[in-house]
Symmetry: C2
Amino acid sequence: MLIDKVIEKCRELDSCLIVGIDPVFEKLPEDVRSAALKKYGETETAFASAFVSFGQSVIDAVEGISCIVKPQLAYFEAFGAAGVGAYAEIVRYAKLKGFFVIADAKRGDIGSTSAAYARAFLGDSSLSADFVTVNPYLGSDCINEFLKLVDERDKGIFILVKTSNQSSSELQDLEVGGKKIYEILGVRVNEAARARTGKYGYSQVGAVVGATYPGELATLRSKMECTPFLVPGYGAQGGTAADIAAAFDAQGLGAYINSSRGIIYAKDEGAGYADAMRRAAIKARDDIRTIGR
Amino acid sequence: MLIDKVIEKCRELDSCLIVGIDPVFEKLPEDVRSAALKKYGETETAFASAFVSFGQSVIDAVEGISCIVKPQLAYFEAFGAAGVGAYAEIVRYAKLKGFFVIADAKRGDIGSTSAAYARAFLGDSSLSADFVTVNPYLGSDCINEFLKLVDERDKGIFILVKTSNQSSSELQDLEVGGKKIYEILGVRVNEAARARTGKYGYSQVGAVVGATYPGELATLRSKMECTPFLVPGYGAQGGTAADIAAAFDAQGLGAYINSSRGIIYAKDEGAGYADAMRRAAIKARDDIRTIGR
């Protein structure tokens, strides 16, 4: 099962770090930007081509330090179909290099439409990854369409439960009969997860739970015993290793910690940006290693 | 303001019908499918090319009957970057023909990432439409990034409030202090809407409220006096003209009724599929005309 392979590979590298690929053109290394602009002018093709070359250099830089990358679709869609093509190219390259890929797309729609999104990100399309993030606002007929492909094609999903942003409390923390919305959803996600566990007790169905809310992380860990957590918010968003400790179980399993900006835009102090990214990834891995495995 | 132009154009046509473009390859007319497969083989390019030609024929067929089209991103993404390119091509064609375009993308993420989605669908990208649908699960820092472009570029959004699918009740109908989640969100959406109203009292900020829940439609209409409703669920999903009556105000304003499958896959009874689509669109328009304007 996919989740077992992820656990084994993470154990092999002693790293549960996810490297988020969020390309923002203005922040890319000067040589990547100028090469693309020189070749294609100021077009979406230029931005997309810079993203491919940057994404590949991220993957090369973190090889052996992390085995999971998480391209964020928004940054690619911002440059149209060419941008989406760059995302596909990065997914292809990451797979070739033996990485697991989480498509951070936060999709969700009514049943028949969700089936099309599931096809896009877990099915036969050129955008297909190993995992996709899913938004729960539309309920189970949305989620079930993704679960079909999780089961048929040995794929995984991470459902948004408690997100890392400041305003996540506005809806997710509302209280229904003494329970917060994120707790209610967490328990529901864990039920879907339970039917899909592998040999280490964790499921192909996971949850997104932000590092910026350590108390909520602990509550959810205690109620979601077989649900792996994708934990954003570590690093640039302010979450520390101490904050994410509660995301792991007693064996140090059950969580994958994402860092995007903190790694891919690490300060190049003379040795080149690839080296800066690798050093930042090592630092993040080691920091997280003190807690999870 | 965009919303005023929409109201005026709908008044001119005496039609508040939105035609949803949800292309499913297997359901396309035989000649469209075979032309694409013959030219490109069984590739994403072939599917995308069929979608462009089909989407354009939908737009041609409903010209003068409806002034708003709503391509659904999921069906395009299911065929990768080529599919997304087909979406862009259809948006371009629709604008050229004077239609308003709602990108049905249901996007939403943390602030910085939402800004990238806003750029994609309301900004400078080739995917940019007039309106985009937005998922509220992440709260206001997500929504605010879209609102920036609504204000700066005279665009609009429709925020999911009460969706048309069966399982929408699972989260949206939970009760917090005697109020349903969709009511709480509806009131919040209306507050954002109030700051952005045009000369007819309606806002650039709208809400998605399903035709399949007429009671909820009525409740929300009474609490959201300046929020235009995008109403899915009419037609193929089971909503009738009587069901949508409550979406309109006393002047017959405030709602746009979507029909996708009921029009674009209308039964061709010998006169050709374009004719079938046009007849189905006229029928839907006239049915809705008995109520809204």
